[in-house]
Symmetry: C2
Subunit: 580 residues, 2 copies
């Protein structure tokens, strides 16, 4: 595949570059054989999630409806060939593109060549190449793929070509994976939605008036439509978790410096003050684990020495092996923004089930100054005052997207740091982290000698509501909090419990939803809360119809393995499924 | 103890502050009972190491001559009381002060109170409080100690008082340690020698014309005189290893982010581009291990969340358990500065013994651009162009020490960074680290399938010579290399193999030393090498008489435990002792 030749560097306008990228994307879709059927009539329906199912074969439906772990088993046993599996996902991903605009290109040639190699390997060796043998993995565009364009959502970057696969891809490749599709991301990678001037806006498959989330919003939407069951996102403020939550799938942000970022296209390379991390989105908890373990088993720290050499640690039986219940601390709201009623309702429902469970003990977590946490992290996101972001946007003359402007130009905490002001901000960051560590320690040590009151995980909202209306995803606090602290965090769907007018009411006056609705005399906690409240008053439950409801579970720093185990225990205790 | 009242903040001159600090130090020495005998006649002899031995009791000699691990065992068994042990070390430390000027204060009151507590604990519980029960530990001054002055070697900082013990002290305290003496450090903490305007210069006990090294040079000299057998240093460019090497003891710089720096007084707080780490100096390898394990066993990462949560990992039998020899890669010189003949000779002697050993395989390591490594790290040491260092010095009007000027003002790589130039320098750092990781990986994978050629450790000089003449310790490359890479590194004495004119010759012409001497037609490798060569030409072996000769062993990042085990195996194979 030749690199993009229509670039602003070669004199094209940004509109011409965008049109060319879209033509390229569509051309990759046209390689499918047989061609895709026509999916849509003139109007896009509100909820498109059932459309692929009505057009795929039974076999394709079976394959794309299978959780990663079962998929891997069936390919390894030879029940399904890699080629059959890859073809099914290529077709469903292409359909997802037509429905929600979540793909930058599909890779039929590469993926089918790889599948053929894997088939041959299995035939020859009578064993799979690795734990992900034949598993198709979708990849956010800014994760470099050898020989392919690498634009990170900036029009001016079109024409950059990756010299080799990003290290995370090399690790997954060695474990047997197949890469078959690349997905959209927003301009700057710093929105909790996905829109850029190359490909437009990625919308939510459950409700086309809502965002798929961001920045890994192409992944989120693709998984929501089951055009993928395992994808790679990246997260520095919620960019894996927001799209996973918005699309009703699982999304895991590990502690940083475990999974490699080498080979990702980003602005501000060298900035290590707040670290991004890659991580998986999946339709199952086991998918998150398989992905993470497969990479760690490749010892990526030997190739990327910025990483911490912590292999996958088995935590089977934790904390039950210590003869006590899983202790879950609940954050109802963060003291800055009260979540919309459906989130409050879902949290209450889950907590009620956990309280009734033998396996879990529920306590309250008192959030400590999450407003300060936002100030600190926002001060460290763009330490050059946003100069590199601005340069990357302005290089092509493309317009600033509203949420780019919101997070950089309208953000009162952004400044062009000097070295002394940077060091001061880093000290504030570390002081905040130390304070939060004290909170965990206090919980651990004020109890009896057996430490039975040690908090294992924090259960909290995944955001200030369900998937937001387009261009309204302004509040990052529920996810960025855990980036500042560098705690692992995972979001999970609350079953089939999507928003419905019946359950969540339509604005404040709705019947049967009083206990989770805003009080009559509600006073906003902050400016951000007033904005969030106004959104609910304006749109109500009807405005968010069918949106999945998700929650978030958070562990202590580097306790990634324990967190995933705790999530399974929590899901079991609450009667929720481990896959969706 | 009241905080210092004579400070520049309260109007005193820097000379008055210094005089007051020295009076305070001497007053602590005067608390000893019985008082110290007169140690010196009018002239300080070249080598003072035998003096304490001639004035201490047999019991005091026995105690201070015992390795940490045996000391701990004898205290735990009740053979020696904590009080007896502490008293012996207090007296010997005070003597060391008189001989080489390595102490800022001794702490008889605190230490004896603590010893009494420990005695009572042992009597009551019939078991020690922890693995360091009663072990006296000497502490570099800038490691904060509750209620005591904390000046970090700056006159203008006198009057700062620590609010609480540094976290590393709290961990050691919980393990049963006794803190009894605080030791000197240079102005800025950024010299490989130890001199400041508060206390003057700390000299080398083996040869008073040489430096004790730095920045933990008070520790080094104190251990050299056995006024301590276990001390805390800190290292960002060689500050543990230079003084350990110069004084013929063991010194260990762990990988950073394992041992806590919380509570240390430093300039440039918030700078995380090159990280300092604390670590032990000891008269035995086992002392290094006991210290490190005792701290890690306290899980310091729960209190300082910047740390990586890696507990002590047992590596008994590594690499023998894998059925192969320890593979040691030798760096003869770093391609920038050729070490002085005694170092070349010692390295050759050790390598010859290792080659003859069944347990070790020796290969060559080709250093990759250590000159570039110095440029990169020097560019990241003082990212504000040295502004905070200058402010700390200039606050009192004290003069710049020559080596402060050398490392900051005369250093061509120091600059006041902008954010973009900082990010660029960080990228250069990470690229260099990645390149060095490739070297290890290449060594590991170009061999046969069993990976038997994987290099375990690198053996190299600890510096460009033995302890340098005062104010000549300008070349950091042999130690700073491993700070840039963040590899664990340990220095060890080469037995009783100190410099002698007979072995090392006196300049180039000496008999019997040709093979290690500079060639007749030597051409310096660099400007730094020309300087180093000139020192040898000027002073020769006679100028460095009696200086201990030490070498350095380096492990891969985070392989701290393996490194210490490898050192023991190497010492055994070379017929060198594990304690000194």
């Amino acid at each position: 595949m030749a690199p993009a030749s229509v670039t602003t560097a070669s004199g094209a306008t940004w509109q011409e570059v965008a049109a060319d990228r879209q033509r390229h994307r569509d051309a990759t879709l046209d390689q499918l054989c047989p061609p895709l059927p026509k999916l849509l009539t003139d109007d896009i329906p509100l909820n498109t999630t059932s459309i692929p199912g009505s057009l795929l074969t039974e076999e394709e439906l079976g394959i794309t409806g299978t959780a990663v772990e079962d998929l891997a088993a069936k390919i390894a046993s030879g029940e399904w060939s890699s080629t059959t599996v890859v073809n099914a996902f290529l077709r469903r991903a292409a359909m997802a593109q037509k429905l929600v605009n979540c793909v930058t290109e599909i890779l039929p040639e590469r993926a089918l060549k790889r599948a053929a190699e894997l088939n041959a390997y299995l035939a020859t060796h009578k064993k799979p190449m690795g734990p992900l043998h034949g598993v198709p993995i979708s990849v956010k565009e800014h994760v470099g793929m050898k020989g392919l364009d690498l634009n990170a959502g900036f029009v001016g970057w079109v024409g950059n070509v990756a010299d080799e696969d990003a290290l995370i891809l090399r690790c997954l490749w060695e474990a047997g994976a197949v890469f078959y599709v690349r997905t959209t991301q927003p301009q700057t990678l710093m929105h909790l939605e996905t829109s850029n001037n190359l490909y437009g806006t990625t919308i939510n498959p459950y409700n086309s008036t809502l965002t798929s989330g961001g920045s890994s919003g192409g992944e989120g939407a693709l998984l929501g439509l089951r055009g993928s069951v395992l994808g790679i996102g990246t997260d520095i403020g919620g960019s894996i978790r927001s799209p996973a939550a918005n699309n009703g799938v699982f999304g895991f942000k590990p502690t940083s410096l475990r999974l490699p970022v080498e080979g990702l296209a980003v602005t501000m390379a060298g900035a290590e003050h707040i670290r991004p991390t890659p991580g998986p989105l999946s339709t199952s908890v086991e998918g998150l684990r398989l992905f993470t373990k497969a990479i760690l088993d490749r010892k990526p720290w030997l190739r990327d020495p910025t990483l911490v050499p912590l292999g996958w640690r088995d935590v089977d039986g934790e904390p039950e092996s210590r003869g006590r219940k899983l202790r879950v601390a609940v954050v109802w709201d963060d003291g800055v923004v009260r979540p919309h009623p459906p989130v409050v309702r879902a949290l209450a429902d889950v907590v009620e089930k956990l309280r009734a469970s033998e396996a879990v003990e529920v306590v309250e977590w008192k959030p400590w100054r999450h407003d300060l946490a936002w100030e600190i992290i926002a001060k460290l996101y763009f330490c050059d005052g946003g100069a590199e972001e601005a340069a990357a946007i302005d290089a092509s003359g493309e317009p600033w997207r509203p949420l780019s402007k919101w997070i950089i130009r309208d953000n009162p905490h952004v400044r062009a740091h000097t070295i002394p002001s940077l060091w001061k901000a880093i000290q504030e960051r570390d002081a905040y982290k130390a304070k939060y560590a004290e909170l965990w320690n206090a919980n651990a040590t004020t109890a009896d000698d057996n430490n039975t009151s040690e908090v294992d995980v924090i259960l909290c909202p995944a955001g200030p509501g369900v998937a937001p209306k387009l261009e309204t995803a302004r509040y990052w606090g529920y996810t960025s909090q855990w980036n500042l602290l560098d705690y692992p965090a995972v979001v999970f769907p609350v079953g089939g419990d999507a928003i419905s007018v019946e359950k969540d009411g339509d604005g404040q006056q709705a019947e049967g939803a009083q206990s989770h609705a805003y009080p009559e005399d509600y006073t906003p906690l902050s400016e951000a809360d007033a904005y969030n409240w106004a959104l609910w008053k304006e749109h109500g439950a009807a405005g968010y119809r069918d949106a999945p409801v998700s929650l978030q579970l958070v562990g202590r720093r580097y306790e990634d393995e324990k967190l995933l185990r705790a999530l399974e225990n929590l899901l079991d205790a609450a009667g929720l499924p481990r896959s969706c």
